[in-house]
């Protein structure tokens, strides 16, 4: 059974069809990449899954549950975590606090227990801290632990945001352009991380990407979209050689960096 399935979903902004009766499904354990020119509707797909925008038509279901009834914060509680294209970190707080916040959906301590810092609250915070430290280890960001998030470089902020998504132990991770703004070395590092996330952490990944080398290295399947609707769906190799995809987006089908 697919983990996430989209059935003829649509979203418009005024007269502009951002997503146009799009259907696809994501299998558990795979890395599902979405490619396409700018303005093709890729981030809108993520925003529909996160319930930041309401669905105009169609149905989105996650693990069999209809997402259409959920509030944005309930999507996170259901086990979907995401990163943002323009990084939505908590700039005034330290990296540690940003990551601790990622554990919010696991919080079981009541408001009263937290106000009085009863043992239940203390246990909760210490358990969260253990998990956060594991992720800090995984991402190798120990030296930034106490630094203010707003003061860090762009590449590190991206990694911190990835960390915040990981600490929540999601079943599905939405990565919005994980390599944009990263150097080639950092992008290579991202390849390894996505592989580790899929293999060691067992998290299903959906990824919007422009860097075709990253896409071909890690993707199980690729969805190419243009103007809100599907151009092609298949393996990376299949999609990269699809004539419609080449015409709309890729240019000559050579492996390496794509446009944008």
């Amino acid at each position: 059974m697919s983990l996430l399935s989209a059935d003829a979903i649509s979203l418009s902004f005024g007269g502009i069809r951002a997503v146009d009766r799009l259907s696809f499904d994501v299998q558990p354990g795979e890395v599902f990449s979405i490619i396409g020119p700018n303005g093709a509707g890729k981030t809108s797909i993520f925003n529909l899954i996160s319930r930041l925008y309401p669905l105009e038509t169609g149905r989105l279901s996650f693990g069999g549950r209809d997402l259409g009834r959920l509030e944005p914060h309930e999507v996170a509680s259901a086990g979907i975590a995401r990163t943002f294209q323009n990084i939505r970190l908590f700039d005034q707080a330290s990296v540690l606090t940003n990551l601790m916040l990622g554990r919010y959906r696991h919080n079981r301590a009541s408001v009263l227990a937290q106000c009085l810092f009863l043992p239940a609250a203390r246990r909760q915070v210490l358990a969260d801290r253990e998990k956060v430290e594991q992720t800090i280890d995984f991402l190798k960001i120990e030296r930034y632990r106490d630094k203010r998030a707003g003061d860090l470089s762009y590449g590190v902020r991206k990694i911190v945001e990835l960390g915040r998504a990981l600490v929540s132990e999601p079943s599905l991770l939405l990565l919005d352009e994980p390599s944009s703004g990263l150097s080639p070395e950092e992008t290579l590092g991202m390849v390894f991380w996505v592989e580790d996330i899929r293999d060691k952490l067992g998290i299903t990944v959906m990824m919007i990407e422009h860097d075709m080398s990253l896409v071909s290295s890690v993707s199980s399947r690729v969805l190419a979209v243009n103007q809100g609707s599907r151009l092609a769906l298949g393996t990376a190799a299949e999609v990269q050689s699809d004539p419609a995809v080449i015409a709309a987006y890729l240019g000559q089908a050579t492996p390496g960096r794509g446009p944008g």
Partner: protein
């Protein structure tokens, strides 16, 4: 220079992790407990007011400093607390009326918070301001309960057989409540709820993406903030012993903002500094008036003008407030003789929300 070697996660949770913290705070505790013996009566009365403003400041800090919901109308919660305790104490003892005042203020806080949920920035400020006018109108006109403009006289607090008939005795109660409020604020800040509140301040979308229920957390913030300020109002009613609507005006809301901004937004300690500032300032103005030219000294808006100037001055030149200055002084001594003018700038790479 001091280097901290942490050996357990528990360290970060403790309120006084280092032995030297425990020493200095212990000294402070002794000084506070001995204050009624050491201070002349007039200053003791002022100390009670400092405590009351600090408690109200903690309330506003939770909402504005930590959740990022600016409120220009906190005088309303102060008034609700004062009036609730004044009215209820006609028929019930202080030990019941006091928490009831907090609960009533919390309820009003939720009512004010509901329409404010969708507002931000200046619209939120105006929305809270409007709510506060509504509350003061209700208080002024609901004469059957509040006796309107005639006001209510408030009896002294009776706790069992003890009557708090002096500033010294009231001081200990206010000190206890202030310490409890500070401890409460600190607990929230080291819990998931506290960081959820800070997340809402910095990025609402980011907060939603990790599962923070915006509506629920904002309303909890409004409720807790209003409750603390309401309890401060209840204590105020007993200090002044007579309350009427004219004591809870916009000026009081501005004074509370001065407490948190000049104290240092983002720091609970700052509220105490801010409270001291706000209590001392009118007296400094009064003394300075003798030395000012006539046309300045006799202006009716002089006090407000001075508040406004100080507020603007601090926001422009010392945005971390008195707490920021305090941190600079501490850093100067700990780094001696290597301190330079911009040493504090590096300190900013440590999160503002964490330096309590």
């Amino acid at each position: 220079m001091k280097f901290v070697r942490k050996t357990s996660y528990d360290y970060d949770l403790r309120l006084f992790p280092e032995p030297e913290d425990r020493f200095w705070y212990g000294l402070l505790a002794v000084a506070l407990l001995l204050a009624p013996v050491l201070l002349p009566p007039y200053f003791l009365g002022q100390a009670v007011l400092v405590g009351i403003y600090a408690i109200a400041g903690f309330g506003l800090m939770l909402l504005a400093g930590y959740t990022g919901q600016i409120s220009l109308g906190h005088a309303a919660f102060f008034a609700v607390g004062a009036y609730t305790t004044a009215v209820l104490e006609k028929t019930m003892p202080f030990v019941l009326a006091f928490p009831a005042a907090g609960l009533m203020a919390a309820a009003v806080g939720i009512l004010v918070g509901l329409p404010a949920l969708r507002l931000s920035g200046i619209y939120l400020a105006i929305g809270t301001l409007a709510s506060s006018f509504i509350v003061s109108e209700v208080i002024a006109r609901w004469e059957s309960v509040t006796r309107g403009a005639s006001g209510i006289t408030v009896a002294r607090i009776r706790l069992g057989d003890i009557v708090l008939d002096s500033d010294a005795k009231l001081y200990y109660l206010v000190l206890a409540v202030a310490v409890a409020a500070f401890w409460l604020g600190r607990n929230i800040l080291r819990s998931p709820l506290g960081i959820a509140m800070m997340a809402i301040r910095d990025s609402q979308t980011g907060a939603q993406s990790v599962g923070v229920p915006l509506v629920r957390v904002k309303l909890i913030a409004f409720a807790l903030s209003a409750a603390l300020t309401g309890l401060a109002g209840a204590l105020y009613a007993h200090k002044i012993q007579f309350i009427d609507p004219d004591q809870f005006t916009l000026l009081l809301s501005v004074e509370l903002l001065v407490v948190i901004f000049i104290g240092g937004i983002g720091s609970l300690h700052g509220c105490v500094f801010g409270a001291i500032f706000i209590i001392i300032l009118p007296q400094v103005i009064a003394i300075a008036k003798d030395h000012l030219p006539r046309y300045l000294a006799e202006q009716t808006g002089l006090q407000s003008a001075v508040y406004a100037t100080c507020l603007i001055g601090f926001i422009l030149f010392e945005p971390e407030g008195l707490h920021g200055i305090w941190l600079k002084i501490k850093r100067y001594f700990s780094m001696f003789p290597h301190y330079q003018r911009d040493s504090q700038k590096q300190q900013r790479s440590h999160a503002r929300g964490e330096s309590w």
